[in-house]
Structures are given as structure tokens and as C-alpha cells.
Symmetry: C2
Subunit: 418 residues, 2 copies
């Protein structure tokens, strides 16, 4: 894309009320725009990142056999009353509203209830199990505080996967598959080295749930990391009994702040029982379906990546989620520079290499460099009279300090889509 | 995909309260699930169709230079008060709700207001214009009646494009570009032959707006079609003066029921003025930005396609939006049939030909044929002992009555992805 056509512009300052690093950098870079506290628009650059994260997550959900669907935000309260999660005294973050034709509705905070009710129409026999479904869906939560940018919004994009199994053994095997898929996701998104499977509170059907926590001072959680084992324990379950159960030594644990970027739960029959999702087993007996749920906050992930992969000049996107792979900077408005840079841009486009081309006139080299650092595209290619004289293009990775001059052939080799 | 793995099953009957054809067929085929009146889930087959329609629309919006973004549902009421569209006495289909931390919010019925306010931060000079942005976004409208299936929902997916021009001339030229893009979209979606550019009420800034109306008894609008000119007039502006202005003869017009599948409006400065979206022109004078808006109800389009492209056995999807290109039916559970059908499925998958493979055991041939007709995938390929004896596979288009036996090579040639 030509930067001169992009309607967004970078800003020197973020709004004064944006105290989180992710909101500050993403706003200044033109990725997001705040509409209200905890409510953001995703502008062209930001939407590209969000879509790339979505696609990575989608691929891994498909790889564990998830079937994608999409449920609405508006909720039927009669279903939530059956599980006792409608009452504000029980669940305190509903947005509720009235239907003009009569009745009350609420905006989905999550989707266990309607999905369990839906499945009761499709599951009859043990032959229908197991399976799993997932969606990318906008959740609404009436949070009291919303000060963490896109890491805790009142409206946010979530991936939620739900599994339906015949029994706990079948569930446990699938749960481990999803756990492995989640690890792949964080690795692919470039934050795997900072992200720990974390033991958190379970419930009736399992001693623990598992969170995926990414080490960051911006996090709201406190965890205790055992680096040698590659696991962590959430403060909420941190006690001597748990340490003993997990075989962890207190002396090896390091306290850290962290962001919860995913969580997986064993739901058991918590929802299938009240909503009558049951099947007939091999002996003709009725059994409740055994369920699990697996969440990833997609927009929160985007915020987390910015929190942990940035420096004082701006964002450093991993290749997998960057809005573009390469940022071409044409420096100096001379004919030879414009022609060379434009030819390169056209060649990248023809080869499917996603490029942002800073073709803006009357913008200084200093401003272009500063903008490129702020926006954080993985590769920067400078075309200037000097680079042309030196034999080509100056290429530099955003994560490195020094660039080098390369020929067109070397550049295409470096950036070619595998 | 293997049909035995798909969690949905076809149904003989739709819920008794579903009176529209689109809801009946889509529910029976397992494409959608009704959560409440006017509120639907999109199940795996349905989501695939919705995504394909989205992709066609996206390609054509990109082709007219649209920049994709995504705005939230939750609305800042102070912005809507400036254009006098917050008051329920003025706009009567808001869903409104309360923010726990204080204040009132509503669910976006459309996005002119927040988008115009946002652009005021990015547009300063005539050099920043013109441009256009669009989104695929869930709208919420508190409709009194919701009886048309996914053609009029309380929650639905819409594509809305907005253009920002320096003046009316520049706007008019872009308006015609979008009109042409819309025609391409309906042609690509297989309903172009039934869809007419329809003159409808304009406003202060243009004598008419333009709707795209698809002829169907399920439509809520009445239009007068001039077949020879390829245009229509909405009943709301149908009078002798308008006929004279458009050079249309009354005797040539045919009254029709139709579904509004798109509309394009000249907004002029209706929103830019109250929300202070202005630019400095070449002479240094401040001017209000001249705007247009261009909507397509994506989920309504899906419903409309079903209304107009179906027969008494089920849906007849156009190739461009079908959930799969080909439906393989293995008939009879013999080893040779299963092996041949599975090999074919694997070959299609390897070649990127999207196939649904009805590998269900203990399901009769009659049921498989009926399900294939209901689900409406463009090509059906039957593998049976007889087809194998006759030299291959029986291929039939959903839109035709008779199939024919072809070899594997002929089949791959017929279905290959261009």
C-alpha cells in the first residue's frame, strides 16, 4: 500500500488519558482509535494485525479439528437463567437492554449457555461425539475499570473453542491437544519465550484450570514461575499443598507480573446438566456430555505483543502478525529515487510480498525514519540517492540496529514468500 | 470436509414459527440456528457462505480503493446528540444500555457519526482527500417485527463504505464508481439478472438515492421496473414528475415485489457540518467534507440468494458463494465404494477443490440425495458400485436434472480451480 493514500497519520502524542503502553503506541502509529474508555476502532494497519493474529489462531484451531461457527451477541435470558448466570448478583458485568417488541436481552459475555442449548438439538447418540467448535466473536463486558488499552476492553474480539466429549478420559486427551495447540500459537506469535502454562483454580471437575500467562509489567496477574520446569502457578492457588502436588520447590520460583493471554477449563457437566445436553451411550443409558472451554482474547493478544515487543522508538512486530512485511522508504523527491522505489514496490506487489511504501512527498527523512520505527514493520528498505550510488537498497530489520546495502536480487531473496 | 464429522444434521422440518423460505431452508440444511426472533447463529456451512459473500464484496471494495477498518458496536452518545440521532423520538430502533462506571451507551445501528468524528482527527488539508473506508460490522437494530429470517435481523452483518470528497463533483464521480462495483457484486453472486438499480428518495444534496433491488415475492418493497432501460423506481418516489425527469414511460413499467440488497446515498455535509469534519482548500479556505455512504446487508444477501435461487427440494447455491464446490456421495457401504470415494475426496483436497464428502454409514441413498438437494452444493458426484461399473463417477449440477458418467480425468478437468 502507498502510505500517501493511507488516511491515518502518525501522531507525536497519544491522548493524555491513555496510560498503557499498548494504547499509546497503537494510537500514535494509527493502528487503533479510542471511541470510549475500553472501546476501540481498528484502523487499516490495526485491522491487518488483528486479522493476522486471527488467522494464526484459526489455523491451529482447525488443526485440532475445531469446526468454526459464529454466534450472536444478543442473548436469550431464559437460557442463562437455567444456569443461574443471568442475575446481576451472580454475574456482574452484563450489558442488558430491552427488546422493543417485548422482553429483556443481554450482550454475550461468553457463549457456554447458548452453545450448549444449541448442541442439545444435534447430539443424540455416543456416535455424535466427540467434537469441538469455535468462533471469533465480539464479547461485551461491563467492566468497572478499562485502563489497559486493548488488553481489557468493554468490547473485544475473542476466540472461544468448546469441546464436547463422552466422558472425562476422552475430554482429558483433547484438553492436552488444545494445550499443545495454544503453545504453538504463542510461539508463532513471537511471545512463546515469555509465555508460561500456569496452574490456576479448577472446580468440581478438575483440580486446576490452565492459563497462558505472558510475563509483562503491564499484566494484572501475579504468577510464580519455575523456569526449569517451564511452568508457573497463579497466586490464587499458590500454597504449600499445591506446590507439593505439582512437585515444585518454593526456592526455585520467581514472582512475576503477567498478562493472561489464554485459558483452558474443564467444564465437565456444569452446563450440559442444566441445559439437558445428553447422549445415549453404547448400553442405551443417558449420559450428560462432558465439556471443556478454551479462550484466547485476540485483541488482548495484540496489545500484549505491543507491550512486550517494543522499544522506546515504537513497536517491533513479529513477522507473523506485522501489518506488512516490508516498509519501503523513498528518501528525497528526486526522479531517480521515486522511480527506483516505485519499481521496487511494484515488484514486491507482483510477487505477493506485502509492502507499505512511504511515497509521501515533502516529508523529511527524519520523520520517515521515526514513523517506520513507530509502526514497527519487520524490514525497512531505504531507497535514496546514496543507496543507489552504493549499489542498491539499504535493508534493516526493525529488531536490529544496523542495516546493509544489498542488490535487488539479494533483497528479493531475503523477503521472498516461502 | 467429511460429513460424518460435521456436527450439524439436516432436519425434515424447520421450527413452526419460521415462516420465511430462507429461514426454513437454511435451518433445515444446518446453515443457521435461531437464537431469538431476528437473531441467528451461523453454523459451519452457513459461516462458509457468509465468508464467501464477504470476500466477494471485499474484493470489489478494495478495487474502488476502499480502506478496510473496523468500528465498535458500543456508541458514544455525545457524538450522536450532535447530529440529533440519539433521541428515541428521532431514531426509534436503538438498543440502549448503561455503562456500570457511569453513563449510557447504545449499539451501533450504523456508523456515520463515530466515523465522521474520527476523520476530523486525520483530515486537515485538501491533500488528504478524497478517500473511502469500509468495514464488515455487526449492526444492531431494535426492529418491531422480525419475521423475514436472516433478511431482516435485530443483529446482522453489514458492509458499510463511506466516501470523503472535496466537493460534489468529486463525490459524484466516486458515487458512479461504487454503483458499478455494486453491479459487479450482484453479478458475481448470481443474482445480477434479478437486481435493478432503483431510484429512491434522495435528500438535500441529491434528488435521488439509489437502491439495488432484487425481484422476489419475499421482498418488503414495491418497485416499478423498466426492463428495456434496466432500471426501476421505488414506490416511495413513484409519481408523474419523477417519471418525466427520468424519461420513463408509465406503460412500460411493471410492478414488482423486491428485496433491497444495497443502497447508496449522497450524504453531502449532513454529518461533516455538525461533527466539524472540514479541510483547508487550495485557497486556504475552510470547507466541509462532502460525504457518501454505501451499504450492503451481507447476511440479508445470503437470505436473498436462498429466496431466489432454490426449488422445492432445497437451495441452489451459485458457485461463488457455495459452502463447498462439490458434494461427494458414497452410496452403499461396500469396500470398493468407500475406497474409491475416499480416494476422490483426498485428491480433491490435495488439488484445493473444496469438497463435502458424505461418508456417513447407515444412511440410505435416498436420504443422501435429499440432503444433497437441500444443502445445494453446485456439483454432486455419486460414487456407487454401478457408477464404478459404468466407468467412473456420476456427476450432476444441482441446477440441472440429469447427470452423466465421467472418468476421473474428466471430473478433475470439470472441477479444477482456475
Amino acid at each position: 500500500m502507498r502510505q500517501s493514500k493511507l488516511f491515518t497519520k502518525t501522531k507525536k502524542e497519544a491522548p493524555a488519558d491513555e496510560i498503557s503502553k499498548n494504547a499509546e503506541l497503537l494510537t500514535r502509529g494509527g493502528f487503533i482509535h479510542k471511541e470510549m474508555a475500553g472501546v476501540y476502532s481498528y484502523l487499516p494497519l490495526g485491522l491487518r494485525v488483528l486479522e493476522k493474529i486471527t488467522e494464526v489462531v484459526r489455523e491451529e484451531m482447525n488443526a485440532v479439528g475445531g469446526q468454526e461457527l459464529h454466534m450472536p451477541a444478543l442473548q436469550d435470558k431464559t437460557i442463562w437463567e437455567k444456569t443461574d448466570r443471568w442475575d446481576d448478583a451472580k454475574v456482574d458485568n452484563w450489558f442488558k437492554t430491552h427488546i422493543k417488541a417485548g422482553g429483556e436481552t443481554g450482550l454475550g459475555i461468553t457463549h457456554e449457555e447458548p452453545l450448549t442449548a444449541l448442541m442439545a438439538e444435534y447430539v443424540q447418540s455416543y456416535k455424535d461425539l466427540p467434537f469441538a467448535v469455535y468462533q471469533f466473536q465480539t464479547k461485551f463486558r461491563n467492566e468497572m475499570r478499562a485502563k489497559s488499552g486493548i488488553m481489557r476492553g468493554r468490547e473485544f474480539l475473542m476466540k472461544d473453542l468448546y469441546s464436547f466429549s463422552k466422558n472425562k478420559d476422552e475430554h482429558d486427551a483433547y484438553y492436552e491437544e488444545v494445550k499443545a495447540a495454544y503453545k504453538k500459537i504463542y510461539n508463532r506469535l513471537g511471545i512463546g519465550h515469555l509465555t508460561y502454562v500456569t496452574f490456576a483454580s479448577g472446580g468440581i471437575f478438575a483440580p486446576f484450570s490452565h492459563e497462558f500467562q505472558t510475563i509483562s509489567p503491564a499484566g494484572e496477574d501475579t504468577i510464580y514461575v519455575d523456569e526449569s520446569k517451564g511452568i508457573a502457578i497463579n497466586k490464587e492457588v499458590y500454597n504449600d499443598q499445591v506446590l507439593a502436588d505439582l512437585g515444585v520447590e518454593k526456592s526455585k520460583l520467581v514472582e512475576q507480573r503477567a498478562v493472561e493471554v489464554g485459558n483452558i477449563f474443564t467444564l465437565g457437566t456444569r452446563f450440559s446438566e442444566p441445559l439437558e445436553l445428553a447422549y445415549t451411550d453404547e448400553e442405551g443409558k443417558r449420559q450428560n456430555v462432558f465439556m471443556g472451554s478454551y479462550g484466547i482474547g485476540v485483541s488482548r493478544l495484540m496489545g500484549t505483543i505491543v507491550e512486550v515487543l517494543s522499544d522506546d522508538r515504537g513497536i517491533i512486530w513479529p513477522d507473523s502478525v506485522a501489518p506488512f512485511k516490508v516498509h519501503i522508504l523513498g528518501l528525497g523527491d528526486t526522479e531517480v529515487v521515486t522511480r527506483t522505489a516505485t519499481e521496487l514496490y511494484n515488484e514486491f506487489t507482483a510477487q505477493g510480498i506485502e509492502a507499505l511504501y512511504d511515497d509521501r512527498q515533502e516529508v523529511s527523512a527524519g520523520e520517515k525514519f521515526a514513523d517506520a520505527d513507530l509502526v514497527g514493520i519487520p524490514f525497512r528498505v531505504v531507497v535514496s540517492e546514496r543507496s543507489i550510488k552504493d549499489g542498491g537498497y539499504e535493508v534493516k530489520k526493525r529488531s536490529e540496529e544496523k542495516g546493509k546495502i544489498v542488490s535487488r536480487a539479494e533483497l528479493l531473496e531475503l523477503l521472498s514468500v516461502k
